[in-house]
């Protein structure tokens, strides 16, 4: 049987043509392009086919294709505006900015279904994970995380108390059609704080074809006996083709996880997420309403809650986990319960100025922490509510000559508060901010130049409880600054692409850095805020070269250098005597940091069914003022994966076997005073092997995608430097995962 793969690229900037509908006359069938602008059509016969391409913002195109065996064809499509001077109606929040960017598409996301978002993103070069054991992870981009990266969930800046190292992003990956990571400072478009990079979580476009479609995902994990189920369905009305909606729901429940030889006490998880979207879309205007609810409950390993420094040392020196456990789904103290609600309203319209977009978002993040208590009282000791309103108005203006661009305003209002009688953790504050930005892009022949400028103002009003009676003292902070970016791309041919970007970014110190005053049980240390912190200021330069030789070979090399002045970090101070004994104290201080690094990925096709991918990354993080290394930076790593895939017959398609190996070096670039700050030294290097097999079974035209994966195949005992539980326990052992994905589509040709 023959197959045809179409790749649709825009004539001028080679960007993927997406979303677009490809209609094959002879088959009387329509297909949608994916994010790469690709469509794969199976079960064809050799011969001539007439292809019609139609996509909003693009000129319609008709092309005749000759299919002979496995055929790949590239079709060039023009932007509408180049001929009609009309606006591109492209619903893409990630419309940057010449910037190093990597993406996990739907296929990759579903292949990792059930994992946390941070865990999935580790697949990208330059992205690592900061974790608290196996169940709680945060993405790290080029060594930066939490306050230094921005997440955009469905076009809305995610505000889920991301400053905390033990606060994982409250996003359900099942809702995403793609997750992109913009590596390096990208403040101009995405706002202050995006010093390390931006993560864009994009849901799929609602289809324009009438009828029902959707997908069911199921996964089972052996290690913690976790089950995950997720369902999404969408419908476009036949009578009102502009109106469409989508609903989604995910449920996940896991028990105690296992490290080689032991169960890890109290590490159960439970997650319930759902969302609904309604969209009304016409060619020149439209709107969308989106609501999502994310809720998670997770146990924290009981042994990571220590009383004092010597308890911590005892736990570290113990060859086995100090708290023994059997398998259980029960979640006890210490535990977290987090609920995140998001309401988003979006309107768009075009006029003679260009395409206007308005996105309003309201988020409510409610975090409850249940501490270990002497006497159970059924209450949480921390009840933090963070409410955020965001507003973005963006005009993608019409081309003026060869110049095309975006101008917009951003506004944010935040209210953070705890409940009366909570333990002190982060003070009550209100924050307001506003920004103006302009990004212009000039394209000519093989060159694209882009420049952007942004002005931000940010206000904080903080009520900090102080002194013996914990009286609230009011503080006000006003910050404002410019950020800018300038980038060039040179694309001499389909094969080569050169890009260089320079940018500035800044971020204001966050409430935890200014006012923290608390004990971290997991590290037996007291962290103290610093009310006189200044904003961090970043200057960066990023160069990327991409090469691709059809499907045979592709390579992507990025090098970057970033100076961050007033870099905020925790500096060890004097020990403090408390009723529980002595504790180390750490205070937020500032220094000048300088980060240099590189990301490399290579893809090679040995023959048409066998591919290998090599990925490597390294970051060198210096403290310039002290001429020393920075603490807690990801170590060098290298990963190699090889995949054999083939269609095994009419019913068995896209079958594959894949083997992944990952080697993570020991972090040896540590500050001279490391032993004062931390104990023990960073853990040893480790090698992990993962394997998976899978296939798509067709029952008539209905596919069932099945896969079986094993992570940590060798049941390796290892610890990771960026895991806060490295003091206490190893990383999870072998995990066997079975996944089923059943897409359904009742939209074809109806």
């Amino acid at each position: 049987m023959q197959s045809l793969r179409l790749t649709l690229l825009e004539t001028h900037d080679f960007s993927a043509v997406h979303p677009a509908v490809v209609y094959v006359e002879e088959l009387k069938r329509a297909f949608e392009t994916d994010e790469k602008g690709q469509v794969s059509i199976d079960s064809l016969c050799d011969g001539r086919y007439t292809i019609h391409v139609h996509g909003a913002g693009y000129n319609d195109k008709e092309e005749t294709v000759n299919v002979l065996g496995e055929t790949s064809v590239r079709i060039k499509v023009d932007y509408e505006e180049h001929h009609l001077n009309e606006v591109v109606v492209k619903e893409e929040h990630g419309r940057t900015l010449l910037q190093s960017k990597e993406q996990l598409d739907k296929q990759h996301l579903r292949a990792a279904a059930g994992k946390s978002l941070a865990d999935m993103l580790q697949e990208l070069t330059g992205v690592t994970m900061l974790s608290n054991g196996a169940t709680l992870g945060k993405p790290v981009i080029h060594g930066m995380h939490s306050n230094r990266i921005v997440m955009l969930n469905n076009g809305v800046r995610q505000e889920d108390q991301q400053w905390g190292g033990e606060h994982a992003p409250n996003i359900d990956p099942f809702l995403a059609n793609s997750v992109s990571v913009v590596k390096g400072a990208a403040s101009v478009r995405y706002g202050t704080d995006a010093i390390g990079g931006v993560i864009l979580v994009e849901p799929p476009q609602l289809s324009a074809r009438p009828g029902w479609a959707g997908e069911l995902n199921l996964a089972g994990f052996s290690n913690n006996r976790m089950g995950v189920g997720s369902f999404v369905a969408e419908h476009t009305f036949r009578n009102i083709p502009a109106l469409a909606f989508r609903v989604h729901g995910t449920y996940k429940k896991g028990g105690t996880y296992r490290i080689p030889g032991y169960w890890v006490a109290n590490t159960g998880t439970e997650e319930r997420n759902y969302s609904a979207t309604v969209a009304y879309r016409k060619l020149h205007y439209g709107g969308e309403l989106f609501y999502s609810h994310f809720s998670t409950e997770l146990g924290i390993y009981r042994g990571a809650h220590t009383g004092n420094q010597s308890d911590l040392k005892n736990a570290i020196d113990s060859p086995y986990p100090l708290v023994a456990s059997d398998f259980s789904y029960e979640i006890n103290r210490p535990r977290q319960e987090v609920k995140h609600d998001l309401i988003k309203a979006k309107l768009y319209a075009d006029n003679r100025w260009g395409l206007w977009n308005l996105i309003y978002g309201y988020q409510r993040n409610f975090r409850q922490e249940y501490d270990v208590l002497r006497v159970e009282n059924g209450k949480a000791q921390l009840n933090l509510t963070l409410q955020t309103h965001t507003l973005n108005v963006n005009l993608a203006h019409k081309s003026v000559g060869s110049i095309q661009g975006d101008v917009g305003v951003d506004a944010i209002f935040q209210d953070n508060r705890f409940r009366d009688g909570d333990r002190l953790f982060i003070p009550t504050y209100q924050s307001a901010g506003g920004a103006l930005y302009l990004i212009e892009r000039y394209a000519r022949n093989k060159w694209v130049a882009e420049g952007g400028l942004r002005y931000d103002y940010r206000f904080y009003g903080v009520y900090n409880p102080e002194g013996n009676n914990q009286q609230n003292v009011y503080y006000e902070y006003h910050y404002n600054n410019f950020s800018g970016t300038l980038g060039f791309r040179y694309q001499p041919s389909f094969r080569w692409q050169w890009m260089i970007t320079a940018g500035t970014a800044w971020r204001a110190p966050q409430a935890n850095e200014l006012f923290a005053a608390g004990l971290h049980h997991g590290a037996a240390r007291i962290e103290l805020g610093n009310k006189s912190l200044q904003p961090e200021q970043s200057y960066s330069i990023n160069a990327e070269v991409k090469y691709s030789h059809d499907d045979k070979l592709s390579a992507d090399l990025t090098v970057y250098s970033q100076a961050i002045n007033n870099y905020i970090f925790l500096e060890p101070g004097p020990e403090l005597l408390t009723i529980r004994g002595y504790f180390k104290t750490f205070q937020y201080k500032q220094s000048d940091a300088w980060l240099n690094g590189t990301d490399l990925s290579l893809h090679y096709q040995w023959f048409s069914h066998l591919h290998s991918t090599l990925k490597a990354s390294a970051v060198l993080a210096r403290d310039r003022a002290r001429n020393d290394w920075l603490v807690l930076m990801p170590s060098d790593r290298i990963a190699l994966s090889t995949r054999y895939s083939a269609d095994l017959g009419k019913r068995w398609k896209q079958s594959f076997v894949e083997l992944n190996g990952r080697y993570v070096f020991q972090q040896t670039r540590i500050p001279k005073n490391f032993d004062e700050i931390d104990y023990p030294r960073p853990p040893a290097a480790y090698f992990l092997l993962d394997a998976s097999v899978g296939t798509s079974v067709f029952w008539g035209r209905q596919p069932f995608h099945l896969s079986l994966s094993v992570t940590n195949l060798l049941n390796e005992k290892y610890r990771d430097y960026l895991d806060a539980f490295r003091y206490f326990i190893d990383q999870p052992g072998r995990n066997i995962i079975f996944r089923v994905r059943v897409p359904f589509d009742f939209k074809n040709n109806n």
């Binding site: 009102i240 502009a242 109106l243 009304y280 016409k282 205007y285 439209g286 709107g287 309403l289 220590t306 009383g307 004092n308 010597s310 308890d311 005892n314 100090l322 708290v323 023994a324 309401i343 309203a345 309107l347 309003y360 309201y362 501490d371 270990v372 208590l373 002497r374 006497v375 000791q381 409410q387 309103h389 209002f413 209210d415 508060r417 705890f418 409940r419 009366d420 009688g421 909570d422 333990r423 002190l424 003070p427 009550t428 009520y463 409880p465 102080e466 002194g467 013996n468 914990q470 609230n472 005053a517 608390g518 004990l519 007291i526 403090l576 005597l577 408390t578 009723i579 529980r580 004994g581």
Partner: protein
């Protein structure tokens, strides 16, 4: 303009106004959870001897660095036995909160540990007849001190929460979490 489109605009506006309603209430006040400030040893002996020795530290939690520190010296006579009752208090509360009752109620999950340096001879204290918990395991909230000959030393008292092995005699052996670590200077004369 289309009806649905108008609807969406209206809904957006409604949401925006509903949620932006300004709050004027007072900011909340935090409370240190289950705070212990003091470990007190109520010591009684022969000839009507009855004294209390406190180890009180308000430092460290709830953001305070410069809290009150009061450490009494345990002054006892040589080669005598004393009945000792360990009390844990929150002296930030008024009236003072006696947490001992809670600890006794949860005695299966708690353990007092006593450690003398030197362990024997001049300036030492040895320990016996500690009280037990509901499962006849050590609890040691009340205990007998037997003093050595004249000299000086230190007495360390731990209150351990959720020990994994109650038969241990140091926090390293018992596991669990240290709620109190009190180090008293000892003078026996």
């Amino acid at each position: 303009m289309n009806y649905q489109f108008l609807n969406a605009v209206m809904l957006t506006a409604t949401i925006a106004t509903t949620f932006s309603a300004c709050k004027k209430d007072d900011p909340p006040t935090p409370v240190e959870q289950e705070l212990i400030t003091t470990l007190r040893l109520d010591v009684s002996g022969e000839n009507g001897f009855s004294k209390s020795f406190s180890y009180k530290i308000e430092n460290g939690f709830g953001g305070g660095l410069g809290g009150i520190i009061q450490i009494d010296t345990l002054r006892l006579a040589p080669e005598l036995t004393y009945q000792v009752s360990a009390r844990v208090l929150n002296e930030k509360e008024n009236p003072v909160e006696d947490i001992t009752t809670e600890v006794i109620a949860e005695r299966d999950e708690h353990l007092f540990l006593y450690h003398s340096a030197p362990a024997t001879g001049a300036g030492s204290i040895t320990f016996s007849n500690g009280s037990t918990d509901g499962q006849s395991r050590p609890f040691n909230q009340t205990i007998i001190f037997s003093t050595g000959t004249s000299g000086t030393g230190t007495l360390t008292v731990h209150l351990i929460h959720a020990p994994s092995d109650k038969s241990g005699s140091t926090p390293g052996e018992t596991g669990g979490e240290t709620d109190v670590e009190a180090v008293f200077p000892v003078v026996i004369q």
